[in-house]
Symmetry: C2
Subunit: 290 residues, 2 copies
Amino acid sequence: MQQPSGLRVGICQYAPQVGEPDRNRDLGSKWINSAADQGATLVVLPELASSGYTFESEEEAARCADSAEGKTLNEWAAVCRRRSIYVVCGFAERVDDRRYNAAALLGPEGVLGVYRKAHLFNDEKSFFLPGDTGFPVFKLPFGRIGILICYDLWFPEAARVLTLRGAELLCVPTNWVANFRREAADERGWTMGDYACVGLATQNQIFVAAADRIGEERGVKFVGCSCLVGPDGSMLAGPAPVGEEALLVSPIDLDWARRARRRTPRNDTLADRRPELYAEVSAPVGDSAS
Amino acid sequence: MQQPSGLRVGICQYAPQVGEPDRNRDLGSKWINSAADQGATLVVLPELASSGYTFESEEEAARCADSAEGKTLNEWAAVCRRRSIYVVCGFAERVDDRRYNAAALLGPEGVLGVYRKAHLFNDEKSFFLPGDTGFPVFKLPFGRIGILICYDLWFPEAARVLTLRGAELLCVPTNWVANFRREAADERGWTMGDYACVGLATQNQIFVAAADRIGEERGVKFVGCSCLVGPDGSMLAGPAPVGEEALLVSPIDLDWARRARRRTPRNDTLADRRPELYAEVSAPVGDSAS
């Protein structure tokens, strides 16, 4: 393969459909190819892009899940090989009789790694097990990436662990449902997910690339508002429109993440941490005073 | 004293001046009284409101610092007593021959507590010692508050510890200097500090009341953009204008912070944490893979 010269991130916002894995596989391939056509070298697809989100039964969830060696990731990895690109995609993972809300990192060489969602939202608790991978960081030719999925964004510890492990870019497959203060986006077109991404980016001096889905499944509406945020918290691309398909492709320089940590000649935001004061953050439940 | 019936938070945005502690004392009293006139029952003043910020020598810093039992806090506590209110105020604290960038909680009963800034920014490292109080939570008749100061906002662990200890409102005396992507605020009038407050609020389902200063000292410009953010990340008041005096007074219902944690019938954002996955956040420096 050719080493990517200059990273270009592609964020795909579209509507997978629950219960239609064949259609979702074709859709994913189409969007990955479209992003590659526009020069993307790393493409992010939404959460559960292989399966859709709103299962009505465990049987349906089981039928829509597949292993990391299965047909969908195999086909998407083939696109990566043909186009010499990388993909981070949400998928419903089956491992023996267990299921995870997972995301895979694919590259020209195949499946490079899997992250399993640590923090499950609402009815996901009926269909998936909590992730058992922790928060892995993947080293690619252009830099180090971490993966979070949707509700994980509301747990600042997760992005912090990835940052401490050297991640420079967080890829976030997500399915933002109606947010918790308005039905969709605010008057400037941002949903709470966008604010969460900006918060994590500026706290950690890290890029965040969030690919949200749109459409409706069984009465559940998904928002859109996918975004790319820089390590200073600035909105580099997006938020994409509410409820419309969108493809955001942007060049980024991951070295900015390292530079941004030097806030002043006397400040390095990671070296300035006071971990001895943070014991409660990782204390077992019940040890805190709350 | 009368128990406050219904909390009203007052956020004071004005310009203390370095090297003029007498003037700053009078200014603080004036702003606390103005906030009380408008019905505030808890008033937040900026960081280092007693001393100003941009010291040119250690001698000047020493001359501008005072103990928690000193003249400035004494006078401001007297206003609290007269008006039956509470105040969170930044001040340069002297303890024997040590100095801290601190904030005091004052009430009708006097000085109720002190927080000393854990994360020192830039030249603060020449004039102050790192805080040794950890992150205390103060129980008041209307609820539990925590205090963070300016650069602390960029360390998500700090707000998380306060949340785990039961804080419902973060009071943030701050001195936001030109931010790290633009000179002041963006096109909608937000500075990076506002985004940081929204990020912490939505991650922790907590209120954030940030009182920034304005004005210029020895070439350093302070932004303004003080704000009050709700536990869903919504901007309840402000951002106040760039570079102008402002007084934001807003009623808030601290019970909203507790309610906001139940995102769905199946989600409690604190119970959903996975502390066993967060060990690196509080690991001693050097233990992480970074």
